[in-house]
């Protein structure tokens, strides 16, 4: 019979407030196998853990049940305390009498019997716990960064600096991401390319960093320390080794297509690099618009290319590599404001989103840096900025605040004043949110020194009239309706998750919230980790954020990855499946459904009458098994069992929990 010790935590008043601690301790004394019961105000504290360690030694307990908060919170803390007393940590069981009892049931009369029932179940399970050892797994000393924007580049640089190999997988032909599309960055107004390009070059030249551009992740298998990843390197039809980036091919190329980098505002050639400072400076051929691939004609690029780097026969290449850690930094998209008919986006060339307006400022942008109306090429006199397009909108948009729009609108208003001195800016806002370092001062400069009229209120309707746009808004401070005959309207559209984020999440094995932003392991304490060990997230793919925050998250994710890669061995999952080979009939249904291919057939010999019988049975590789337990259910005879959540333990829990109301 096990010698079980039950320890109940007050958790200050969190538990003691609605659960009668003394009655629970008394009731615990007569659970089967319980020889010691105690309670303390804060069991997770130093003092509390000492009480447990001391009690284990004094009463030579071989099982411990702790009635406290959720096992997801402090199971490890108490397991360490048990280990200190020389008890195998897996002989300890936690009963969740806080989140699942005292916090959700206000009446002590009701909450106490429930707490007792939960403790009885935990004691019944603990009695059947076995001492377990977590397998030690080796760690592949290489990291994978998915996404080549500033987040991916920064994370890769930090990991590479720590001496580990890093592969960056970037979907576009060049790294740089969203930041490459910006003209200036707030709050310092320094030129985006000037601070980004050196980082891109540094990443390209860093010996430990391997750039896989124009590539996508096809498949991720395995688990922390041993991720087996298939990367599809799409065919560029240009040999990166030979190509010198001289640019003759995209000069001579006759056919054009809308440029994704310029948000479709201008065209690019069929063989192209997305922007002038592209890294690597190797073009790709866009099959859909290239005359050769569409009609088998032209081939000018092949003829004109000095180093003969064009190769039309190039095929997609699948690279298979193993990684110890993965950082997902896939960035964000901007909401398409066509869902708001009242703003008329998409029906008039002078109604733009913030990112499109940013391109107009850019020297290599569609208007060569001259700020002019796309309709008639004249400089705008009146520009209206409208905030919260799709953000803070429960009805048709995103219910969250996109955090960066107030700042980039102020920045664009300042840039407009510098480029077109007699232009007048109006900003319709609900609340200006500029909380970062130096942000408020920057925004006030826009309002005070650059003559930007901030109007507190939304815009209800925009429609073209003669050669300008009528903007109908309101100033809710004076309660006056306002009508502006604007030359140009800039919509601060919401930051939204990438369209393919759910797909990538499912592929990599991390889940996302209802807006498809990836879920962090803990909003406050683990912002860059995910629920899947070994996979970290950084930047706008986790939630809207600005560059400073993105860079700090990137470095945080890098440190988490480095912490993982620096380990000699990793502790694997202790609660793994195990086959009782004498019972196993060899049907191998378990092998068919195991998501981690951790189960393999093996030949065994058994005594049978006077001879020996050879037969096949299943065998679990504890290093691969992640403990999901699906095999234990598909096995009809229960010959494969999951340690830590075994059949008899769960049956004992059901019996105990149904016993006392």
């Amino acid at each position: 019979m096990p010698r079980t010790g039950v320890f109940i935590c007050h958790c200050g008043t969190n538990i003691a407030g609605t659960v009668d601690i003394d009655k629970t301790v008394e009731a615990s004394r007569n659970f089967p196998g319980v020889v010691h019961a105690d309670e303390y105000r804060y069991l997770c504290s130093e003092m509390g853990q000492d009480i447990i360690t001391k009690a284990i030694k004094e009463n030579d307990l071989d099982r411990v049940v702790v009635g406290t908060c959720s096992p997801r919170m402090h199971e490890n803390t108490f397991r360490k305390a048990a280990a200190e007393a020389g008890l195998n940590p897996y002989l300890l069981e936690v009963a969740n009498i806080r989140e699942h009892c005292s916090w959700v049931h206000k009446d002590m009369e009701e909450a106490t019997p429930k707490a007792i029932a939960l403790l009885r179940a935990a004691a019944a399970k603990a009695a059947l716990n076995e001492a377990l050892e977590a397998p030690r797994l080796d760690v592949e000393k290489r990291a994978l960064v998915i996404g080549g924007g500033i987040a991916g580049i920064q994370a890769a640089l930090d990991i590479a600096e720590a001496g580990y190999e890093v592969d960056i997988v970037e979907k576009d032909p060049s790294i740089g991401g969203r930041m490459a599309q910006l003209e200036k960055t707030f709050p310092t107004l320094d030129c985006s390319a000037c601070i980004l390009t050196p980082k891109m070059v540094e990443a390209a030249q860093h010996p430990n960093i391997n750039l896989l551009t124009y590539s996508e992740v096809d498949e991720v298998k395995g688990f922390v320390g041993q991720f087996d990843v298939k990367i599809r390197q799409k065919a560029r039809y240009v040999d990166p080794v030979k190509c010198t980036g001289c640019g003759i091919c995209w000069e001579k190329c006759p056919s054009k297509a809308p440029s994704e980098f310029e948000m479709g505002l201008s065209k690019r050639k069929s063989i192209y690099v997305p922007f002038a400072q592209a890294v690597p400076m190797v073009p790709v051929i866009d099959r859909d618009s290239c005359l050769y691939f569409r009609k088998g004609r032209c081939q000018i690029c092949e003829k004109e290319c000095p180093p003969q780097a064009i190769d039309y026969e190039q095929q997609d290449e699948i690279i298979e590599r193993r990684y110890g850690a993965i950082v997902v930094a896939t960035g964000f998209d901007q909401l398409d404001p066509t869902i708001y008919g009242e703003y008329g986006y998409g029906q008039h060339p002078d109604i733009l989103t913030g990112l499109e307006f940013e391109r107009i400022f850019n020297a290599s942008g569609p208007t060569g840096g001259k700020v002019v109306k796309l309709s008639d090429g004249k400089p705008p006199k009146k520009v209206v900025f409208i905030q919260c397009i799709g953000s803070r909108d429960k009805a048709r948009g995103m219910n969250y605040c996109s955090k960066i729009c107030c700042m980039y609108t102020a920045k664009q208003a300042i840039l407009l004043k510098e480029k077109v001195p007699d232009a007048k800016s109006y900003v319709f806002y609900i609340d200006v949110r500029t909380g970062g370092k130096g942000y408020e001062e920057f925004q006030r400069r826009a309002a005070e020194e650059h003559d930007v009229a901030y109007m507190r209120g939304q815009v209800g309707k925009i429609f073209p009239e003669d050669d300008h746009l009528v903007v109908r808004g309101i100033d809710s401070l004076t309660n006056r309706n306002i009508e502006i005959k604007a030359d140009m309207v800039v919509l601060a559209a919401a930051t939204v998750a990438r369209g393919d984020a759910p797909e990538l999440g499912r592929l990599v094995g991390i889940n996302s919230d209802s807006y498809h932003f990836f879920n962090e392991a803990h909003p406050k304490l683990k912002p860059v980790e995910t629920h899947t060990a070994g996979i970290f997230i950084a930047g706008a793919c986790q939630a809207p954020k600005d560059i400073p925050e993105t860079v700090s998250q990137a470095s945080a994710a890098a440190v988490k990855a480095i912490g993982l890669l620096s380990k000699e061995k990793l502790q694997g999952e202790a609660c793994t499946a195990e086959v009782i080979q004498s019972d196993c009939s060899g049907c191998l249904n378990c092998e068919a459904i195991c998501p981690y291919t951790a189960i393999t057939p093996v030949e065994i010999e058994e005594r049978y009458k006077d001879g020996v019988l050879k037969r096949t049975v299943a065998e679990v590789n504890p290093a691969l098994c992640q403990g999901c337990g699906s095999c234990a259910v598909t096995c009809r005879s229960g010959s494969i069992n999951l340690k830590g959540f075994s059949n008899d333990q769960i049956m004992a829990e059901v019996d105990a929990i149904c016993l006392q109301r």
Partner: protein, 155 residues
């Protein structure tokens, strides 16, 4: 026999056993706790690593031991920490639910729900709704193991 039922002073109170998957639904329950939501005390949660770990025999065992309702909660398809646990349990528990209904259990007795770790409110809602439905249905006598109840109610 009726004394052995879950009789309490205020009249019959249903017993609901809920198997929650550790990564999503159990965490959803934790969130319901941290957000101080409330749901009936009749529900008692047993943590399993994944809804794929749910052996239908645990459900029948609960009914035998006097449970009036069983709720299995797992991650939304596509969110499973083990990639395919809930895909498999969706088929298994769908077939099993139809079988127990065929054997005479009311559909409300055994239910399955997908509850994510960010749906604390849904967790509380589902626990409240199953308790009310079972309260309306009345105690479950089907598959109740009379011997076990009378033996143990003295303890």
């Amino acid at each position: 026999m009726s004394a052995a039922l879950n009789e309490t002073a205020g009249g019959w109170e249903p017993l609901i056993v809920s198997f929650c998957c550790n990564w999503c639904s159990y965490a959803g329950g934790d969130l319901a706790g941290t957000s101080r939501m409330s749901y009936p005390v009749n529900v008692k949660v047993i943590r399993v690593p994944c809804s794929g770990r749910m052996n239908p025999m645990f459900v029948l065992r609960a009914f035998q031991r006097g449970a009036d309702g069983v709720l299995v909660a797992g991650c939304h398809p596509g969110d499973c920490h083990y990639t395919s646990g809930n895909y498999q349990s969706r088929r298994r528990l769908s077939a099993f639910k139809r079988l127990v209904e065929f054997a005479g259990f009311e559909p409300e007795r055994f239910e399955v729900r997908w509850i994510s770790s960010s749906e604390g409110d849904k967790f509380a809602e589902e626990m409240t709704s199953i308790t009310e439905k079972i309260k309306a249905l009345g105690p479950n006598r089907k598959m109740r193991d009379a011997r076990w109840q009378s033996v143990t109610s003295k303890v």
